[in-house]
């Protein structure tokens, strides 16, 4: 059975590690890390992913730009996207969801909440 491929795009190594550690509790999951939007796009073009988790505030290319570019790619038009960010204002949330994210989680994110969202979007038991 093929593993579920998840890409985590986050500039903070600590936060990235926290997300990766949480995701590794799920069965048959393979997690790839990227440190900014450009790095994320590069990794998305090299491999087919089932889910993208992205931060908003990142150097070089922010998460919102990344989400809008990913949604323009027919290969990823239906891939679930989760934004995990410190930006908790309603307008930020609306913007993220309008650009194509499926879920918008704010930091400090609870591991249980993140796992539940991933399971829901990937329809995992």
């Amino acid at each position: 059975m093929a593993k579920i491929e998840i890409l985590v795009v986050e500039d903070s190594p600590t936060m990235r590690q926290l997300i990766v550690f949480a995701l590794k509790r799920l069965k048959d999951v393979n997690v790839t890390e990227a440190s900014d939007g450009v790095d994320g796009l590069k990794k998305l073009s090299n491999k087919q992913f089932d889910l993208l988790i992205a931060d908003i505030n990142m150097p070089i290319m922010d998460g919102l730009k990344l989400v809008s570019l990913v949604r323009q790619d027919p290969k990823y038009s239906n891939m679930p996207i989760i934004i995990v960010t410190t930006e908790g204002a309603d307008e930020d949330r609306k913007r993220g969801l309008t650009l194509g994210a499926n879920a918008y989680l704010t930091k400090p994110v609870q591991t249980t909440q993140l796992i539940a969202t991933v399971k829901e979007l990937l329809k995992l038991p």
């Binding site: 903070s12 190594p13 600590t14 936060m15 590690q17 926290l18 550690f21 949480a22 410190t86 908790g88 204002a89 704010t106 930091k107 400090p108 609870q110 591991t111 249980t112």
Partner: protein, 285 residues
């Protein structure tokens, strides 16, 4: 004459005719009555048979010792079953309550596990480098991502001047923050006593006021304070500190302090080493 004879005969004929009709009517009534009596007799026979059966049944019950007692026994059995049912229902309730308690404990353990995992990763990251700038950067990341602070300052204690100097800021320019004397104000006192400070009410943030943090966490190695993290504003989605934050703060502060101290020592020793090497090179030239 003839007419008389005719009339007489006519009367006789009429009478005969009418008598015949009455007789038929009588016969019909008689037949019906006979049928009814027959039916009654049959019904009577059936009832006698049923009575005989019931009497036989009653005799049999009496012989077996059952009878009026059977009713009482049935009532007793019903009461017994009712009590058993109630007992089972109580047990179900107990099991349900136990399940609920287990579910709550599971969530509690799950949360505790998640927090330990977070703490493990945070401390692992803190001790992953001996570069002072990197350690400071990791502390900043932890305070933003794990605590949920938007505006905060990391102060380090200068033991020579007994002052807390800002070394890193988030949400405010470093130039806007000044040194604080040890023991002065909330931050100075927190550094001097080594005790955490949490504002009872978190006021609405308006302007940066260096002396009015909402939380102060001294960075201590055992009882020796090396600095303070002062938080001035939380992220918009975080209205207050929760129970977990207090624990997390204390645990992280310990790790952050040792990481900072080690990195500082390492940087200083590196500097000293290069100076000594310079001297040696000068002497051996």
């Amino acid at each position: 004459m003839i007419e008389k004879i005719y009339n007489k005969n006519y009367h006789l004929l009429t009478e005969v005719y009418m008598s015949k009709n009455r007789a038929e009517e009588f016969l019909n009534t008689f037949k019906k009555t006979a049928d009814f009596v027959k039916e009654l007799l049959q019904e009577n026979e059936k009832l006698r048979y049923q009575i005989a059966n019931l009497q036989e049944e009653l005799r049999s019950y009496k012989e077996k010792g059952v009878g009026v007692d059977a009713h009482a026994q049935c009532i007793a059995k019903i009461a017994e079953l009712e009590a058993e049912k109630n007992e089972i229902l109580n047990k179900i309730r107990e099991v349900e309550a136990e399940n609920k308690s287990f579910a709550e404990k599971y969530i509690e353990v799950e949360n505790e596990n998640n927090n330990l995992a977070n703490l493990y990763i945070a401390s692992y990251q803190l001790h992953s480098t001996l570069n002072f700038k990197e350690v400071v950067q990791i502390i900043m990341e932890i305070v933003i991502n794990l605590i949920g602070a938007e505006i905060f300052v990391l102060y380090l204690l200068d033991e020579k001047s007994n002052e807390l100097s800002p070394v890193a800021t988030e949400g405010i320019e470093l130039s806007e923050v000044t040194n604080i004397k040890l023991g002065k104000g909330i931050i100075g006192k927190s550094a001097k006593t080594g005790e955490n400070y949490f504002s009872e009410i978190i006021p609405i943030y308006e302007n940066f006021n260096q002396d009015s943090p909402i939380a102060c966490i001294p960075l201590k190695i055992k009882e020796h304070t090396i600095g303070v993290i002062a938080i001035y504003k939380l992220l918009v989605q975080k209205s207050t500190f929760n129970e977990l934050d207090y624990e997390l703060f204390t645990l992280l502060a310990g790790h952050a302090a040792t990481a900072l101290f080690s990195a500082k020592l390492y940087t200083e020793s590196e500097r000293k080493l290069s100076t000594i090497q310079g001297f040696i090179e000068l002497l051996t030239k």
